[in-house]
């Protein structure tokens, strides 16, 4: 079965990103409900989008952690100050939370977090507007499947104030995963 007027990939992505006007969404809804090939292609976009939504973000809030605990996620928490400190991801733990403290965030308008491989400088994740709490610091959710990544992790936390001035703290955290 083929479609004579297939919906472009770009439009499907706009649809799933919530980036279309309501009347455009209605038009796509109508096409998708009546068209098997386009519906199948939309499902391929949706599967990736849903997969992304289900990922636990690398920077989390206390509220998100409470929600995860309520769902049965086994969480262990460690506190770090800027500098170098090894961490062991123990067997049986689902999420290892790194609380990045010891860095004054009281004047920060926003916080940027970058996670890199320390030995190569390769950027793994960057959140330009990471959630933070001036007292609690920044919470990084390290997950079991990160065991596939290089173990030498460097986390840079940058506090940007209202004037745009930026201060950065570095947390070098070599990871050991228990198997």
């Amino acid at each position: 079965m083929t479609c004579s007027t297939p919906i472009a990939w770009e439009d499907l992505v706009l649809y799933w990103a919530g980036d279309l006007a309501p009347e455009q969404v209605e038009r796509l809804d109508e096409h998708l409900m009546g068209c098997a090939p386009c519906s199948a292609e939309s499902a391929r976009v949706s599967a990736v989008v849903e997969g992304l939504r289900e990922l636990i973000p690398p920077v989390v809030t206390r509220v998100a952690l409470a929600r995860l605990r309520a769902r049965g996620t086994r969480i262990e928490e460690n506190t770090f100050s800027p500098g170098r400190q090894q961490v062991v991801f123990r067997r049986g733990v689902d999420v290892l939370v790194h609380r990045l403290a010891g860095f004054d965030l009281s004047g920060a308008e926003r916080v940027r977090v970058a996670v890199r491989v320390e030995s190569t400088g390769v950027l793994l994740v960057e959140d330009p507007n990471a959630p933070f709490d001036a007292q609690d610091g920044v919470l990084i959710a390290c997950q079991q499947h990160f065991a596939d990544l290089p173990p030498d992790i460097l986390i840079e936390v940058s506090a940007i104030d209202a004037s745009g001035a930026e201060r950065t703290a570095k947390y070098s955290i070599p990871h050991v995963f228990e198997h």
Partner: protein, 215 residues
């Protein structure tokens, strides 16, 4: 259930006067290839009704689920929507309440919109009275949904360049608007859209290549 907007009915007399319909005895293996209109007529007439209902659910269940995911933003609510919509549609079809059988898709979309609207307003209440009779069909749509393996997804995310990865994570994890992402990354809205659809295509290709999907 009463949520579908039925128009006028297909009367038994009208069905009975259709000689093509009366004589329709396609082999069961052909049921997957028959038009939506024929499915509606078979269900209403009770001709291979079980097979026709199963095919209707197989055909439209995944599309209703996608509608639910897009508009209700929840896997659980989408699954509930599939059940509610298919029950309502089968009920209407059995009762001959679908006026334009050739536009079954429009009837189903209308039912989706009505029920999703009620769900959003916390007014939806399912009526499981006839669920026992219909569940065997509606349940059939569940197992085939693609699930993405988290490890493979992270691996593929790691292959994107940092900017594309930020756009993807901000779009679908932080649920930031396109304008907001453009401002954060100091670029244009148009550029964000291009980066996003290209990155998503790269992710999809990567997942297809590394077997990132599981049933």
């Amino acid at each position: 259930m009463g949520t579908a907007t039925a128009c006028c009915s297909i009367s038994p007399a009208r069905l009975g006067s259709n000689p093509v319909f009366l004589r329709a005895t396609l082999p069961l293996v052909m049921i997957a290839n028959i038009a939506d209109e024929d499915l509606v007529l078979r269900i209403a007439q009770g001709d291979h009704q079980h097979e026709a209902e199963t095919e209707l659910c197989r055909r439209f269940g995944p599309r209703v689920r996608l509608y639910g995911l897009r508009h209700l933003h929840s896997e659980d609510l989408a699954a509930d929507l599939v059940q509610s919509v298919l029950l309502a549609v089968l009920e209407a079809t059995r009762a001959g309440r679908i006026e334009e059988a050739s536009h079954l898709d429009r009837f189903i979309l209308g039912t989706c919109r009505n029920i999703a609207h009620r769900v959003r307003e916390r007014e939806a209440r399912s009526t499981p009275m006839e669920a026992a009779a219909l569940e065997p069909h509606t349940r059939l749509v569940e197992p085939s949904f693609e699930r993405i393996d988290v490890g493979a997804l992270l691996n593929c995310l790691g292959r994107l360049d940092a900017r594309a990865r930020s756009v993807i994570l901000l779009s679908f994890q932080s649920e930031s608007g396109t304008d907001e992402i453009a401002k954060l990354l100091e670029t244009s809205v148009g550029n964000i859209r291009v980066l996003r659809h290209r990155a998503l295509a790269d992710l999809r290709g990567c997942l297809d290549g590394v077997g990132g999907a599981r049933a």
